[in-house]
C-alpha cells in the first residue's frame, strides 16, 4: 500500500544500496591489494593492477554518491533527514577514499614493509576491515529504524579500540627497530592511516545510530 507515494524515496533507497555495494567492492579490492603487499612487502605489478581496480571502485562509489546528492537536492526527503543522510554518506565516503590513499602511498612512496611487522599489520588490517564490514551493515540498517544500529556501533567501537592498541604497538616496534629514519616515518604514517579506517567506521556507525535515535518518538 502507498507505494505510489514513495517513488523518489525508493530511488534514493536503491542508490544507497548500490553505493554500499560499490564501497564493499572497493573494500574487497583493497583486501586483495593488501594481501599481495603483505606477501611481497613491496609494490609490484599485480599490486598496481589491484590498486587501479580499487581506485576504479572508489570512483564508481563517488559517481553514485553524486547521483544521490542530486536526487536529495531535488527534494526527495524532508530537509532534516536529507541533511542527516548527506552527512552520513559523506562520512562513509571517507572509507573508500582511505583505501585509495593507502594503496597510492604504498605505490608512490615505495614503502617497503619489513617482514617483522607482517603479522602486526595483518592484525591491524583485519580489525579495520571487520569494522568496515559492520559499518556497511550499519548504513544498510539506517532505513530499518531498529535497534541494530546501536549493537553495530558497540561492536565497531570495540574493534576500533583493539585497533588502536595494535596501532600503538606497531609504532613502538617501528621506532625500536634499527631502520632508516625516513622508512620509520613512512611506516608510521602508513600504520596511522590503516588505523584511521576503523576510526572512520566508528564515525559512520555513530551517525547511523544518531539518525535512528533522533527519529524514535
Amino acid at each position: 500500500m502507498f507505494r505510489f507515494l514513495f517513488k523518489k524515496q525508493k530511488e534514493v533507497e536503491n542508490l544507497i544500496g548500490e553505493y554500499v555495494r560499490s564501497v564493499e567492492i572497493a573494500q574487497e579490492m583493497f583486501v586483495q591489494s593488501m594481501e599481495n603487499y603483505l606477501q611481497g612487502g613491496t609494490c609490484n605489478p599485480t599490486f598496481e593492477v589491484l590498486t587501479a581496480e580499487t581506485h576504479k571502485a572508489e570512483s564508481r562509489s563517488d559517481d553514485i554518491l553524486e547521483k544521490i546528492v542530486i536526487l536529495l537536492h531535488e527534494k526527495a526527503l524532508v530537509p532534516d533527514l536529507r541533511g542527516d543522510i548527506l552527512k552520513l554518506l559523506e562520512t562513509t565516503d571517507e572509507i573508500p577514499d582511505q583505501f585509495d590513499r593507502i594503496l597510492g602511498d604504498i605505490c608512490n612512496q615505495k614503502i617497503v614493509l619489513p617482514e617483522s611487522l607482517n603479522l602486526d599489520f595483518k592484525e591491524l588490517l583485519t580489525l579495520s576491515l571487520q569494522a568496515c564490514s559492520f559499518t556497511m551493515e550499519s548504513v544498510r540498517s539506517t532505513l530499518d529504524r531498529g535497534e541494530r544500529a546501536s549493537r553495530l556501533l558497540f561492536k565497531t567501537d570495540q574493534l576500533e579500540s583493539q585497533g588502536d592498541q595494535v596501532e600503538k604497538r606497531i609504532i613502538v616496534r617501528i621506532f625500536e627497530a634499527d631502520w632508516d629514519p625516513l622508512q620509520k616515518i613512512l611506516l608510521r604514517d602508513l600504520t596511522k592511516k590503516m588505523g584511521d579506517i576503523a576510526d572512520s567506521a566508528v564515525q559512520v556507525c555513530r551517525q547511523v545510530n544518531l539518525i535512528v535515535t533522533k527519529r524514535r518518538v
Binding site: 524515496q9 525508493k10 524532508v78 532505513l143
Partner: protein, 299 residues
C-alpha cells in the same frame, strides 16, 4: 489577518520546501473559505451578541481593531485579532451601556483556554501518533514521506479551522449592524482572509515557519495539528480565539513531553500581556475614533 496567521498553517511545510508557497497559499485560501462558510456562523453569533451595533459603530469597531493589530505589529508586540476585535466591541458596549457580560466572560475563558487546549492536544497527539509511528512497518524514508504529506494535510485542516473560527473577527460587527446576513458575512470574511494569505503571507510563512521546522518534522506535524484542533474546538464553542496562541501552547506541550524548553519565558509573558493589553488598546482605539468622528467644526 490571513497574512499573519498563514505561518501557523503552512509555515513548516513551506519553509522546509515540502510544498511551494503558491500551492500552499492556494490550498490555505481554499480551506479558509470552506471553513468560514461551513462553520463560521457560531463565532459571528457570539461576537454580535456582545453588544448591539449600528453601522457607524460597526465601522468604527472594525477600524479600531485593524488599527490595534497594525499598531501592535509595528511595535513588534504579539497581537491577536480576536482580542483586538472584542476589545473594540467592548468599547462600543461601554459607550452604549449595553454589554453582554456573560458572553464576555465566556470569550475571556476561551482565550485562557486556547494555549491550554494546544498543550493538551499536543500531549495526546504526540503520544498516540508516536505510538503508531514507532510500530509502523514502514522504513525511515517512507515515514519521512508520511510526515511530509501529514504536514500538508495538517496545514489544510489548520486553514479550515482558522477560517471557521476567525471569520467572525472580520465581519461579525456588520452582521450585528444588520448589513450582512451570516452566509454573506462568512463568505466575505473567508475571501478577505484568503486575500491576506495570497498577497502578504509569503515572508511570514517563510520566517515564522522556520521556527516550527527547527523542532523536527514530526514535532512540527504534532504542533500544526494540535493548534488546528484547539482552534476548531473553540469554533464549536462559538468563540474566536488566537491561532498563534494555540500553536504556542502546542509547542509548549511538545516541550513538556520531550523535557526540553521549546518556548522562551518572554514568549509566554507576551501572551499573558496580550490577553490584557490587546483588548484594552482595541477598546481605547474605538473610544478615540468615536470621539474624533464626532468632533464638529465650529467657526
Amino acid at each position: 489577518m490571513g497574512a499573519n496567521d498563514a505561518a501557523n498553517l503552512f509555515g513548516a511545510a513551506v519553509s522546509s520546501h515540502m510544498i511551494r508557497f503558491w500551492k500552499a497559499a492556494l490550498l490555505a485560501s481554499l480551506f479558509v473559505i470552506l471553513g468560514a462558510v461551513l462553520e463560521g456562523g457560531r463565532g459571528i453569533e457570539t461576537l454580535q451578541s456582545l453588544s448591539p451595533l449600528n453601522l457607524e459603530l460597526a465601522i468604527l469597531t472594525s477600524v479600531a481593531a485593524a488599527a490595534t493589530v497594525t499598531g501592535m505589529t509595528l511595535f513588534r508586540v504579539p497581537v491577536s485579532t480576536s482580542q483586538a476585535v472584542v476589545g473594540a466591541i467592548v468599547g462600543a458596549g461601554l459607550l452604549q451601556h449595553q454589554l453582554h457580560l456573560q458572553g464576555l466572560v465566556k470569550v475571556a475563558v476561551c482565550w485562557v483556554g486556547t494555549p491550554l487546549a494546544g498543550i493538551l492536544f499536543a500531549v495526546i497527539i504526540y503520544g498516540s501518533l508516536g505510538w503508531a509511528y514507532n510500530r509502523s512497518p514502514y522504513n525511515l524514508f517512507q515515514m519521512d514521506q508520511f510526515v511530509r504529506i501529514g504536514l500538508v494535510i495538517a496545514g489544510c485542516y489548520s486553514a479550515y479551522a482558522l477560517g471557521s473560527n476567525n471569520v467572525a473577527n472580520v465581519t461579525a460587527v456588520f452582521v450585528g449592524a444588520g448589513r450582512l446576513d451570516i452566509f454573506a458575512a462568512t463568505l466575505v470574511g473567508g475571501l478577505s482572509i484568503a486575500l491576506g494569505i495570497i498577497t502578504f503571507s509569503r515572508g511570514v510563512m517563510e520566517t515564522v515557519g522556520k521556527n516550527l521546522v527547527a523542532l523536527d518534522p514530526y514535532c512540527a506535524l504534532v504542533v500544526v495539528l494540535s493548534g488546528a484542533l484547539a482552534v476548531h474546538v473553540y469554533t464549536w464553542v462559538g468563540v474566536p480565539v488566537s491561532s498563534s496562541q494555540a500553536v504556542v501552547g502546542a509547542v509548549l506541550g511538545v516541550g513538556i513531553l520531550k523535557g526540553t524548553q521549546t518556548i522562551r519565558v518572554k514568549t509566554l509573558s507576551s501572551i499573558l500581556l496580550a490577553w490584557f493589553v490587546t483588548p484594552l488598546i482595541g477598546c481605547l482605539f474605538f473610544l478615540l475614533l468615536y470621539f474624533v468622528s464626532h468632533l464638529r467644526y465650529v467657526p
